[in-house]
Subunit: 378 residues, 2 copies
C-alpha cells in the first residue's frame, strides 16, 4: 500500500498491516486484531453496542499481495488513542507485536489527531536557516570514540566546526561515563562549538546525547542548553518515542531534535513481523517531532535495503497534515566516496552522517573535504 497523504477522510485512524496466512486465516486474524488492539476482551461478551460500534477496530479491506501474504487495512476510532503518543503506539502495535506473522506497514493519521502533534519544530527549512545552508546536503558527524576525555572531544568539536561540519553530535553511546562525564562534556563542547563559530563564521550545532535515566533527563537537558547545545540526540528505541515529543515541546529552549536508531533494528529486521522502516524511522519520529532521523544507509555495515531507505525518506517528507518534514540522516559507514551516491539517492534535503571516516586524516581537513564535496553538489 502506498503512503497516504495526510489524515484519512473518514476521520478514523487507519493502520495497514501485512498478515501471513491463507485468505480464511487472515480474515480471522484481521478481525481478532481489531479486538486485541482495543478492548482485548471476548467480543461476544460485550453488552454495550457503543463499544462494538465505536471502540473495537474495523476491518476496512483485505487484499492478497503474494504467496500467503495479505495487506489488511484496519481503522480505529481516534478516541481509543486518547490523543496521546504512547497510547497511539499501543493501539497500532502493542499486543499484536506478540503475534507471529503480523507486520505494521503503514499508518494514516486523521487530521483531528495530527492537530494534537506539533511535529518537527524546525524541519528542513528551519534547520537550513539555523545552519545558513540554502540548498546543499548537510554534513553531520559524531564525536567518538568512547573513552576519549571531554577535553579531547571539545577539540574534535572545534575542528569539525572549523572544517565545516553542520551538525556535530555525541556518539550515541556517550552517556555519563567517567571518561567524559556529561556535564563536563557538554560544557567543553558547547564552548568549543561557540569558539569555532565565532572565529570562522560557521554555524555548526553541537548536539549532546540525552539517553538519560528518566529522573535525570530534565537536568541533563538544562545543562546541555545552558552549555550552548544547539540540539539534542535522542534514542527513542530505549527511552520511547514520547521523549522526542517531550523534548521538542519543552520550554524554554526549543532546539532541534535528532533521533537515533539504537535498539530499533529489532522492530524492522524480520519482514514478516515488527514494523516497517518507513514508520520506525520516518513517520513515528516525525509525528513525535524529530527534525532529523538517523538510520543506516543501505550498503553500509547494516542491512537495510534501498527500498527501506527510500521508504524512510518518503515517510520523512510526504504530506502529513501541516507537520514539517524530518530530514533523513543516513549513516553507518559513510565515506567520502559515498557522498555523490547518497546525495543522488535522497536528494539535497539530507544530512549525511559521517562517523569514523572523518578521522582517517586530520579532522579539520577531512571535514573540509566532505564539505567541499557537498558544496559542489548544491
Amino acid at each position: 500500500m502506498k503512503v497516504r497523504e495526510g489524515g484519512s477522510d473518514s476521520g478514523r485512524l487507519y493502520a495497514y498491516y501485512q498478515l501471513h496466512g491463507t485468505a480464511e486465516q487472515v480474515e480471522v486474524i484481521a478481525r481478532a486484531l481489531t479486538v486485541e488492539e482495543t478492548i482485548e476482551f471476548p467480543a461476544e461478551l460485550v453488552t454495550d453496542p457503543e463499544i462494538n460500534e465505536n471502540v473495537i477496530g474495523r476491518v476496512e479491506g483485505i487484499e492478497a499481495i503474494g504467496e500467503g501474504c495479505h495487506d489488511v487495512a484496519i481503522s480505529y476510532s481516534v478516541e481509543v488513542t486518547g490523543w496521546e503518543l504512547p497510547q497511539l503506539i499501543n493501539v497500532l502495535f502493542g499486543n499484536c507485536s506478540m503475534w507471529p506473522g503480523v507486520r505494521l506497514v503503514d499508518v494514516s493519521v486523521p487530521d483531528s489527531l495530527l492537530q494534537r502533534f506539533s511535529g518537527p519544530r524546525f524541519g528542513t527549512a528551519g534547520i537550513r536557516e539555523l545552519l545558513g545552508a540554502d540548498s546543499r546536503p548537510l554534513l553531520a558527524t559524531a564525536i567518538k570514540p568512547m573513552g576519549t576525555s571531554a577535553e579531547v572531544f571539545a577539540e574534535m568539536v572545534f575542528e569539525c566546526a572549523a572544517g565545516g561540519v553542520d551538525i556535530i553530535k555525541d556518539d550515541h553511546g556517550l552517556a555519563n561515563q567517567p571518561y567524559a562525564p556529561f556535564s563536563e562534556r557538554v560544557a567543553r563542547c558547547g564552548d568549543a562549538v561557540r569558539a569555532a563559530n565565532d572565529r570562522y563564521g560557521t554555524r555548526a550545532l553541537y548536539m549532546p546525547c540525552v539517553n538519560a535515566p528518566v529522573d535525570e533527563l530534565d537536568a541533563r537537558v538544562d545543562l546541555a542548553l545552558e552549555s550552548g547545545a544547539g540540539g539534542l540526540l535522542v534514542l527513542p528505541g530505549i527511552g520511547g518515542y514520547d521523549v522526542i515529543r517531550y523534548l521538542a515541546s519543552r520550554s524554554p529552549g526549543c532546539v532541534p531534535i535528532m533521533a537515533h536508531p539504537s535498539m530499533l533494528g529489532a522492530l524492522v529486521l524480520d519482514e514478516s513481523e515488527g514494523i516497517a522502516p518507513g514508520l520506525v524511522f520516518g513517520s513515528l519520529p516525525r509525528l513525535a517531532g524529530a527534525d532529523l532521523s538517523v538510520f543506516p544507509h543501505s550498503g553500509g555495515r547494516f542491512s537495510f535495503s534501498r527500498e527501506d531507505c527510500s521508504s524512510i525518506a518518503e515517510h520523512c517528507r510526504a504530506g502529513l497534515g501541516s507537520l514539517s518534514e524530518t530530514i533523513p540522516a543516513p549513516g553507518g559507514g559513510m565515506t567520502l566516496e559515498h557522498v555523490p551516491e547518497v546525495a543522488a539517492f535522497y536528494g539535497n534535503d539530507v544530512a549525511i552522517l559521517v562517523g569514523g571516516d572523518l578521522h582517517r586524516g586530520p579532522l579539520r581537513k577531512s571535514a573540509e573535504s566532505f564539505r567541499d564535496r557537498l558544496e559542489r553538489i548544491a
Copy 2:
C-alpha cells in the same frame, strides 16, 4: 548457555549472543560487535591503548551450537554503561539490533553494577505480605473492555476484590480516553477497592496503567497514589525500561510495579534476531525493579513456547546479586481450566492473569471460582 548466577567473577559485564554464520564469519562478527556496541569507530584508528584495552569489548568465547549458529560471549568494562540502565541497554543491544543474525540471549551483570540497582522493592515475599497470601498462586485480572465508564469500572473493581482477586489492574490500553478519564477512573477505582477491602477483609491491590506522556507521568502517578492505587502498571516496550526503575524508586509512595509486554513481542519473536524472552520479560524488568512481569503463557492466543515461558520464570527468580525476585504473571487467554496446569508449570510463586474469562459469569462469582481453585492448590 545457562543462566548465570549473579555477577561475573571478572567484574566485567558479560553479554551472550547467538550469531549466525560460518565459524569464520562469526569470529569476524563477534569482533565487530565488541567495537559496534562501544566505540563505534574504526579500531585501527584508535591511538589510545587504554581504549583498545578497556573500552572496546572482548570476545571471551565462541562455541558452535548447531547448523550455522554459535554462542558467543562478549565482555564489556562496566564503565561503558555509566552505571545507568538506558546506556546498559544501549551497550547490550543498541546498534547490533540492526545487524541481521544477532540475538542477545543472556547477560551476566557484575556485582559492582548490580549494586546500583535496587531491583523489585517488594518481590515475592513483599507482595505476599501485602496481599496476606502465604503460599498459594496469586490471582490477577484487568478491568476491561475499553469504552466502559469509570463508574462501571469501579463496580468491576469492587466485585473482583470482593470475589478474592489479589491484583486488579487497568487493561493496558486504558490511558486517558474520554470513556473513562484517568483521574476519574483512578479516583473511583481507588475508592472501590478500599470499600471492598474494608467490607470483606480482603487486601486487593488496584494498579492503574500509567502509559503516560513523559510530561504527564508524575502527575498521573501522584493522582493514582492519592487515589489509593496499590501499584502501577507500566509498559516498558513503549516508555522504556527505565520508567520501571524510576517509578520503583520514586518517593513518596513506593508501590509494587507490574510490567506489561506491549510492543515487546517484536524483540523476541524471530529467534535469529532480537533478544531472548528471558531477558525481555525476566532480567530486564527485574533489574529495573518490576515486582510482577506480565507475559503470554504458551498455548494461549500468543505464540510463546513452553521453553520461552520457563526461561522467563527462571530469569525472574534465579540468583541476581541481592535483588528480589520478580513474580511471573502469565496471561493471554487464561481460563479456569488452565489454573492447575499453569500452577504446576510455574510453581506457586506466580500471579495468574485472567482477563476476559472472568467475565463469562457474574464477576464476583467467577472470581470466587478462580480463587477457590487457587486456594486448593496452596
